[in-house]
Amino acid sequence: MNSLVIRTDKLTKRFGAVRAVNGLSLEVPRGHIYGLLGPNGSGKTTLMNMLLGLVKPTSGEFSLFDPGSDYLEALRRVGAIIESPTFYPYMSGHANLAYFQGISGKGTPRELDDLLEQVGLAPRRGDAYKTYSLGMKQRLGVAYALMGEPELMFLDEPTNGMDPAGMAEMRNLIKGLSAGGRTVLISSHLLNEVEQVCDSVAILSKGDLIAQGKVTDLVRSKDRVRVRTTDDAKAAGILSALEWVEQVDADDDGMVVTAPVHRSAELTAALSRSQVYVAAMIPIQTSLEQYFLEVTGEEEVAAP
């Protein structure tokens, strides 16, 4: 079994002169909750749309599950909510699910009842979709995405329009989804939300892939420590010369050294060899949001 569930190779989509996705090469490992991060218009939804066959790539290639496998077969192993869920307004929630189950050719009537129970829509199963509240529509979308026990799920801005309680509920649901080796690709511009649920992320900006990797690795790459020494000016020179120190910035309260926190002991040793002694050393934890702002050069991100 392939360890990569999604693989894209130089995937590009242009809408006229606008490059929505630009030569994106992405690898999503099996069993991960993988976040696509980026501000609005960064290409997240376009990428998902291409992977789901809704938008034709201008160039490049991609595969779902095993490369060379039948694409429609692969899609039947996928569950998705892209933007807001859309169903037939004149049909009931149950009839909508029955229809989508029918065309996918997978599942049993019992599964529909269980799903409606699971998302709390069982009492309204026979009511027309158009009479549902926004929250109920989202929940029906979740039931639709879970139908047929998909191995891969696409969730595009899953908490859009939800209240804080709904968002917390959705976060728990997403965490639960990865149980049993299921892979989840989730896009959001809410960095805090992604940091809480994702194992790995890809950061997009204006269609370009800025960074990708495990959240912990990415955040750690921007680890910093605040250092006060007996001679800050001399210390700055010594630390700047170390190749694993990325940056040294002096300020009124000492200096901020960008370097892996786990090498703090080496940092202290290097200074003491030159008769500079550490008075204080405070690790500064970088959040995914701070990392994102640094790599994308964005000034502001939407608050969760």
């Binding site: 789901l52 692969a74 899609l75 039947r76 807001s84 037939y88 307004p89 049909m91 229809y99 029918g102």
Partner: protein, 341 residues
């Protein structure tokens, strides 16, 4: 692949039968044909003269400056028959009596309107008079069934379930054609039932003439085949515009404007008549034309109708070309979110 298409078609029916539109459109078509049957029945009653039916119709016609009088019995006029006196006339003298014979038929209750409520002709007549209306309603149904997938955004939800693009469109087209055929069958059954009722009250008696029942099946089959190019047309315009409203308007526009343009151009230039032989509307009308059946179509009268075989192939060519265009476009186009139109 066929099995997958059939599964999709089955679920397409699951979806469509829950909508109002197909039932409302069928209701309109049924109502229209019933009105034709009922109004024909009352016109027939109005024209019927019991005294003439009993004693016969006396007519005087001037033949070669000589006034000839004869009494025609209504029974002789049944099933398009002529009285023995007229049959004995030389062929060149027949035209002198035709007008009077038509009047005699009307007063005997055997006029042309009788064909609209007496079986089996009433079914073919019902399908004939609803020809243009059924095509327009069908195009609306097709545009609505596909256009609402765009406006509700459900096309995205369908395609992400791995149904496949051409497979989805193919199953929809197939289901709609079956529904169109079923609709025409229901209309035929409706006419059959009302003919049984009204025919039994007809002053001339008899609910069914010695008629061509196989011809009725043939007309029904032809009516279904005539829907195919318009199915392709409505699909094409809806895929092109991704909208029920604009798709319907363009399909209707083509249907109406084509016949108007052909009529005008054929009136100005004789050579255009040969071009008109390859126009869709002209061929569909020619295809539907049956001896003695009234066809209500928009096809211009100043164009010579092509032969049935010619019409069959032209209709097929239109259906294939426009249908292929619709599928090609559907396969290529990006699918965006709900439009809410």
């Amino acid at each position: 692949m066929i099995a997958h298409l059939l599964v999709l078609a089955r679920w397409e029916w699951f979806k469509l039968r829950r909508r109002w539109a197909p039932w409302v459109l069928l209701g309109i078509l049924l109502l229209f044909t019933q009105l034709v049957v009922i109004s024909s029945f009352f016109i027939n009653r109005e024209n019927y003269d019991a005294a003439i039916a009993e004693a016969g119709y006396y007519m005087e016609v001037s033949i070669d400056d000589e006034l000839v009088g004869m009494r025609v019995m209504c029974d002789d006029l049944r099933d398009g028959g002529v009285p023995p006196e007229v049959e004995a006339m030389p062929e060149e003298q027949r035209p002198y009596v035709n007008f009077e014979l038509e009047d005699a038929r009307t007063r005997c209750g055997l006029g042309g309107e009788r064909d609209f409520f007496v079986l089996p002709a009433s079914i073919a007549q019902g399908l004939g008079v609803t020809h243009a209306l059924s095509i327009m309603l069908f195009m609306f149904l097709v545009a609505s069934a596909l256009g609402s997938e765009y406006s509700w955004g459900t096309l995205r939800t369908v395609l992400t379930k791995g149904s496949g693009r051409w497979q989805f469109l193919g199953s929809k087209a197939f289901t709609l054609l079956i529904m169109g055929a079923a609709g025409l069958l229901v209309v035929s059954v409706g006419v059959l039932v009302s003919s049984l009722i009204f025919g039994s009250f007809a002053p001339t008696g008899g609910i069914a003439d010695q008629g061509d029942w196989a011809g009725v099946a043939k007309t029904l089959g032809k009516s279904v085949y005539a829907l195919v190019p318009y199915l392709a047309l409505a699909l094409f315009f809806t895929v092109l515009t991704t909208s029920t409203g604009v798709g319907t308007a363009l399909a209707f526009g083509y249907f109406v404007v084509e016949s108007i343009m052909v009529g005008i151009l054929a009136a100005f230039w004789d050579w255009f008549d040969s071009v008109a032989q390859f126009v869709l509307g002209t061929n569909v009308s020619a295809w539907m034309q049956e001896e003695g059946t009234a066809i209500v179509s928009l096809s211009p009268l100043n164009v010579d109708p092509p032969g049935a075989l010619h019409a069959f192939f032209v209709i097929l060519a239109y259906a294939l070309i426009i249908g292929a265009g619709a599928f090609w476009l559907f396969q290529r186009k990006d699918v965006t979110g709900a439009k809410g139109d």
